[in-house]
Symmetry: C2
Subunit: 291 residues, 2 copies
Amino acid sequence: VREAPIGVFDSGVGGLTVLKALAAELPQEHFVYLGDTARLPYGTKSPETVARYALQAAEALCEYGVKCLVIACNTASSVGLPAIRVHIHSVPIIGVIEPGAEAACATSKTGHIAVIATEGTVRGGAYQEAILRLRGRARVVAQPTQLFVALAEEGLHEGPIADSIARHYLDPLFRASPGQASSGGPGASREPTSFPDTLVLGCTHFPMLAGAIRAAVGPDIQIVDSAATTAKYVRETLERESLTRLESPAPHDAKGRTRFLVTDSIERFARIGSRFLERPISPEEVELVDL
Amino acid sequence: VREAPIGVFDSGVGGLTVLKALAAELPQEHFVYLGDTARLPYGTKSPETVARYALQAAEALCEYGVKCLVIACNTASSVGLPAIRVHIHSVPIIGVIEPGAEAACATSKTGHIAVIATEGTVRGGAYQEAILRLRGRARVVAQPTQLFVALAEEGLHEGPIADSIARHYLDPLFRASPGQASSGGPGASREPTSFPDTLVLGCTHFPMLAGAIRAAVGPDIQIVDSAATTAKYVRETLERESLTRLESPAPHDAKGRTRFLVTDSIERFARIGSRFLERPISPEEVELVDL
């Protein structure tokens, strides 16, 4: 079992930011990555549909003999994790919401936390709930930032267009407009605590836009990237359950291998995925599967 | 048969710009609009997948007794129309590519035509082929402008963000950068014919961005909107085949009715669709169907 791969699932390329963090945290492990590219995006679909798709994908990954399942998609974690946990008991199942919520609660000083995500994740409310479970007096604001997904996939994650879209979404969360400043007559100071001190990137695409997001919120906001925190969570889980791959005696086999499976559009996955993974993916490395 | 509705199909809300044009051109007709919202977007999927989905949708609409099928989606028209025409012979089937190509060829003086569309439509090459079939010496350039879809759905089709994205995509097509100007030494004039004189909006979302597109290309470029040209094409087809609805004697029944069918996300369809159709769609008007 220790030699078995870790299954990583996303609707498309976004989960590759999680895979990159996992490979950095657990370089000796093998991975099977499944992108449900025929049915993406999940972020704008109904909870029932996303839950059904996520369960199918999780079951498909189990057939590859994985020792652990990572749901590297916020929308699928948000609405699909309960259904997956009801049906699959053989392996640990880790989503990206809980690690992100934990990191946000540990990071925030004021307890005022902003979450940006897809429409589906925001509407599902899973981040809001997970944060409030951990820190009951937290104040959570959630904002859908749907265009970030298209920007990241178009390779426009840097530059003036990304900057202006980041400001469009984030200024209302982090900066007082004249009408929103605290009233109290001329000279009254604004309340600094009326803005969040922590921002959760609640979509696996968003680490691609880290530069534009940082420029929009300024240097003082703590940014929580759930990819990195999820990778730590997976390592701890494997260690706790004695599932980590043993160091191989042969040096050529020391580094883990990754298989890529998609349900459609191999060429597009390889092209855009290379940017997300920050290493070239050749179309020959990607297999087409049918769920 | 004359009383039967016209079936209109798209992957989501984009086809509503075609439905709006159809309702303006044929106000007495009934319509059944099907948005395959569970499987959108088609624009980034493989041709085989889009063809399969489009055929399923067309067959579903036939079960509603339609007298004519309009494939109000450029990607589905581009790669699905042949498969649909092989399997369905009972009613006329009209896509958006041929009307758009005809209008472009009739409009362009120089024969140099630019097409903007989704990745799938551009890669499929159907516009390029349709234009060259009609005007063999035309010169066609095609540019994917994927972000326009997300902008239109986010309601960001106007304003500085839309303007800057339109310039990002269209400046390279319509304006010489210093390096692209014709060489010939200082003082040599640029060749004015080296730029297209006509721009085809090859995606049903793009009429929403007409203002930003016009601002980017300037006043001299002819913009061809395939929604309007498709509506004329449908009217001519119905008249030729004696399929137009006869004027009703009862005035209250003179105006056609529209049924909306979607495969997922009724609330989102109604909310975003209202903007595309430029009239409110209530969630109660929208039925969920399974293909």
